[in-house]
Amino acid sequence: MRVLRLIGLVLVLAVACHLATIWLMPRILLAAVTTTMQANGLPVNELVHFDRRTAKDRAIVRPSPDLLYSICLYDLSLGPVHIATTEMPQTYWSISGYAANTDNFFVVNDRDAAGRPVDILIGHADQRSSSADYLSPSVRGVILLRMVVESNEHQKVLGQFRNEVVCEPAS
């Protein structure tokens, strides 16, 4: 009888561990990625541009080699973050926000922008900033700029556009 009780206890605890592992997995993986990036000198609340991904890049699984990526590790603990672009090119691009659990909580793309500059404010859901365009469910997360590259010449043009994009504290 005691053995059966112990087996039952193991199974109940195993189910709890299983669910906790599944729930924590995206949070742990994203935290590992952002912590490594910061350890490698990536600043917070600032957009950093990357070259096209190659086999040497090991930061994020299944990267697209056909996109230019720029990353802003955001931290809303001191207030909202401001993202702004100039007029962007007529190619597929998107600016997307990922919370600490990897949820994609907003996307703005070239069709949304319709040739106009983008100017948005990201706030934290608890701060209820009335001026925020999008609310992040977590204080920290990642903002990702993606741009489709169609050729090497195209890449140079896109590089000039993305140099004008800013991600910075709003105040």
């Binding site: 199974l11 605890l13 592992t21 995206p26 086999a55 299944r62 056909d66 949820d103 069709r111």
Partner: protein
Amino acid sequence: MRALGTFFLVLSAALVLGVGSALYVLESQPMKPDIQVGPWQGSSEAGSVEAGIYTRAAIARSAMLALTRQEAIYFIASTDSSGDMLTSSCRYNVSVEDQPARWWSITAYGPDYYLIPNDGDRYSFTKTDMVADDEPVQIFALAMDDAGMVPVVTNGVMGGQAFSLLLRLYHPHLSVLMSPDQINAPQIIKLGCG
């Protein structure tokens, strides 16, 4: 003392069972698919805030920072059209029509989910690579790094390692959003091995 030993035994067994089964589930179903088109599997909940914990964990493990389906739909193939595992010991033709999306790409990844090293830094085939709009089908082979091919072996070394293909559809057409399992997905035909 005996009670303490039993406690740690129970806890260890629960941890091994719980964490191990979670990792096994994520490894065996890397994208928690609910869409199947030939060898291609996709998840309609990728990137969504409505995604369940299993989908969220699976996507984070295999394709972190995915976009929502309105922005992009992802399909992963780990087998050819006959159901055999993709391996760099074999050569494949991938026949693809222009896909129902604004832009699309097919990228090869190694078993570690990263791009496969090769001298030419060639990792994918995209809509931009289609020669002409009136050429409905393009055929390209996955094997050695020859002209027009996407290599899935490291600098010509045949290692027999598993690989996968990821089809990305950016701004998929409404028909794809309505019926993602009805797309004319690329065929992956094995040509030979060894």
